[in-house]
């Protein structure tokens, strides 16, 4: 039973991480109606710059703003340089241009920082473990990720639900033309929203650095998972992204932990050894297909387009 609780915690941490990626993606998607495959590159840029700064200065307090700033700057540059030309285009152009950006960035980091994976370490003050559940000390760093992630989620909720800018964003998500007609500066709004998304992706990337590998292409796999999240949650909905991210985190974690023993109950052991992990790796895609089959617009589509 305790183990189940531990796994729930693991799922929460994974889900929070996914949420940070998905939040920016779903905003950009919902408001500008742009498919952004380069979102994973912003995650990668945040991770690289943070790790490199940390190695150079030994100061995590310097490394965090450096990583965030780099992701933000990269985001603003590609928004102004490339995305502005893509807003009026169809999804195909967007998919291809951002696919091209991903290819470019994956090699660019290798040109700048070399092919070797970068060593990023957990800062000293978060290096140990915290005992929350008896017998299963949890890494302090991951706990910090959960806290930061939940705080960011709350902050985003406040911004969007309570502030004037949030109102404009909401207006933009449900009816772009109307928001513009009512006097919102759409050009600035788009840049701000994109920058916000870049910032969140950079934050996810720099937090991921010390526990995953900082390497070329690190953003690709999490990007696909983030897409799964926003599609399940309903494109453009922060609330949907939050719930779906946690759900995907839980489902994936539980699948990995318990599918193999579950299959072992009714399959011979070698068959279960093969089928367990196979189904576990497909599980969230199966869930996504099922959700879309019954609710093509996702679980929490933003009201009215």
């Amino acid at each position: 039973m305790l183990l189940l609780l531990v796994q729930a915690f693991n799922g929460l941490q994974f889900g929070v991480m996914l949420f940070l990626m998905a939040a920016g993606l779903t905003l950009v998607f919902g408001i500008m109606n742009v498919v952004n495959l380069a979102h994973g590159s912003l995650y990668m840029v945040g991770a690289y710059v943070c790790a490199e700064t940390y190695v150079a200065t030994h100061s995590f307090l310097l490394a965090i703003p450096a990583g965030l700033l780099a992701a933000l700057a990269t985001g603003v540059i590609i928004e102004i340089g490339i995305f502005r030309a893509l807003y009026t285009r169809d999804h195909l152009d967007q998919v291809l241009a951002t696919f091209g950006l991903t290819l470019m960035f994956n090699d660019l980091v290798r040109i700048i920082w070399g092919s070797d994976a970068i060593y990023a370490t957990v800062p000293k003050f978060l290096a140990g473990q915290v005992v929350i559940i008896p017998g299963a000390p949890y890494p302090a760093y991951r706990l910090a990720i959960i806290v930061v992630g939940l705080a960011v989620a709350a902050l985003l909720y406040l911004i969007i639900a309570r502030t004037r800018y949030g109102m404009i964003i909401r207006a933009g998500a449900s009816n772009r033309v109307m928001a513009g007609a009512l006097g919102a500066n759409i050009v600035v709004l788009y840049t701000v929203v994109f920058a916000l998304g870049a910032l969140l992706a950079g934050l996810a990337g720099l937090m991921a650095g010390p526990i995953f590998t900082v390497a070329s292409g690190m953003g690709d796999s999490i990007l696909i998972l983030a897409f799964v999240v926003i599609v399940i949650g309903g494109i453009g909905s922060i609330r949907g992204a939050f719930i779906a991210a946690l759900a995907v985190g839980f489902i994936d974690t539980m699948g990995r932990a318990y599918l193999r023993p579950l299959f072992g109950l009714f399959l011979p052991s070698t068959a279960a050894d093969n089928a367990g992990p196979a189904v576990a790796s497909m599980l969230i895609y199966i869930v996504m297909a099922a959700v879309l089959f019954f609710r093509p617009q996702g679980l929490f589509p933003p009201r009215m387009r």
Binding site: F29, V95, F99, M104, D107, R110, I235, N274, Y285, L292
Partner: protein, 318 residues
């Protein structure tokens, strides 16, 4: 109309040039080019099939490589069970991709736009992970085939030139089918459904069934390409259906020019020749490919087809 005539001319010239690849490489005593172009023709078929649904049908499948994989694995698995009839292998590949495409189409076509892109991606990821986990058929390592499919002594596929023309014949056949298909009533309906599905439905066309039909035809064509790839390489592995591979096929279509019939084939030639040259020159070839790709899109997605005959036509936005 002039544009149409030009396009046909380029198509004939292009196919004639492709038909000359084996004698020319023989004359140059560079048999390698026959192999390179066999691969290029196979990817041309894949690009052609994708063009049918994205350009004419407006269905942005981002998981098209999955049919390459299913077609190739069908051949590989048939070979593993000792079935060496080439005809049978191709039929199995076509049937398997038809079944999978029907299933994926039934689910995905309920959605549209971004959701469609994502759900096709999700299905391809699912089958990709499945192929990695099934150790009986090689898993991540892939499976080596025992021999090429047998078509009697008339078509010995072990000869590289025979294999080339065998693939060439399939490409010509599919090109012919597609050029008729898009101008047929069926083609009109799926093109109409791209711009305005409601109107087409109001006119009494069962739009969903037409779209599903196009989706399956495209999948089967791509599946045959996958089967040919397996016959050529005598090897199949999950890498054939990585998500980036789906992106590459899409890039070929766009590089060549969407909805131009021969464009995707030109795109496949350009992409793979570029890859062949660039990988020899730099380990950062993805960097250059990425820049080229972004540039093509920003300049208004004018594929090679439009460069060739100097006519600018605005690609229509769905």
């Amino acid at each position: 109309m002039a544009a149409n005539r030009n396009r046909r001319l380029i198509m004939w010239l292009g196919m004639a040039a492709l038909a000359l690849v084996p004698p020319v490489s023989l004359a140059l005593s560079q048999p390698y080019y026959v192999d390179l172009f066999t691969r290029i023709l196979i990817f041309s078929i894949a690009a052609l099939s994708l063009d049918l649904i994205i350009s004419y049908g407006g269905m942005l499948s981002f998981g098209h490589a999955v049919y390459l994989g299913v077609g190739a694995y069908a051949v590989g698995i048939a070979d593993a069970y000792g079935i060496d009839s080439g005809l049978f292998q191709l039929l199995v590949a076509a049937a398997a991709t038809a079944a999978i495409a029907t299933f994926i189409g039934l689910v995905s076509l309920r959605t549209s736009g971004v959701h469609f892109i994502m759900i096709t991606l999700a299905f391809s990821q699912m089958i990709y992970f499945l192929s990695i986990s099934v150790n009986k058929f090689g898993g991540e390592d892939g499976m080596t085939l025992n021999q090429r499919g047998q078509f009697g002594s008339l078509i010995p596929l072990d000869n590289a030139n025979v294999l080339y023309y065998f693939v060439f014949a399939f490409l010509a056949l599919f090109l012919w089918i597609q050029s008729h298909l898009v101008r047929s009533r069926f083609g009109m309906v799926i093109r109409g459904a791209r711009t305005n599905p409601r109107r087409m439905a109001a006119l009494g066309f069962p739009v969903f069934r037409y779209q599903l039909g196009a989706f399956v035809i495209s999948g089967v064509m791509c599946g045959v390409a996958g089967a040919l790839l397996a016959e050529q390489a005598l090897f199949v592995s999950p890498a054939i259906m990585q998500w980036s591979r789906s992106g590459e096929i899409m890039v070929m279509v766009i590089m060549g020019g969407m909805g131009t019939l021969f464009g995707p084939i030109l795109g496949a030639v350009a992409y793979l020749v570029l890859e062949d040259v660039l990988t020899g020159l730099t380990q950062y070839w993805g960097f250059f490919l990425g820049i080229i790709l972004v540039a093509i899109i920003l300049m208004g997605r004018q594929g090679i087809m439009s460069l060739v005959y100097g006519l600018r036509w605005k690609s229509s936005h769905g």
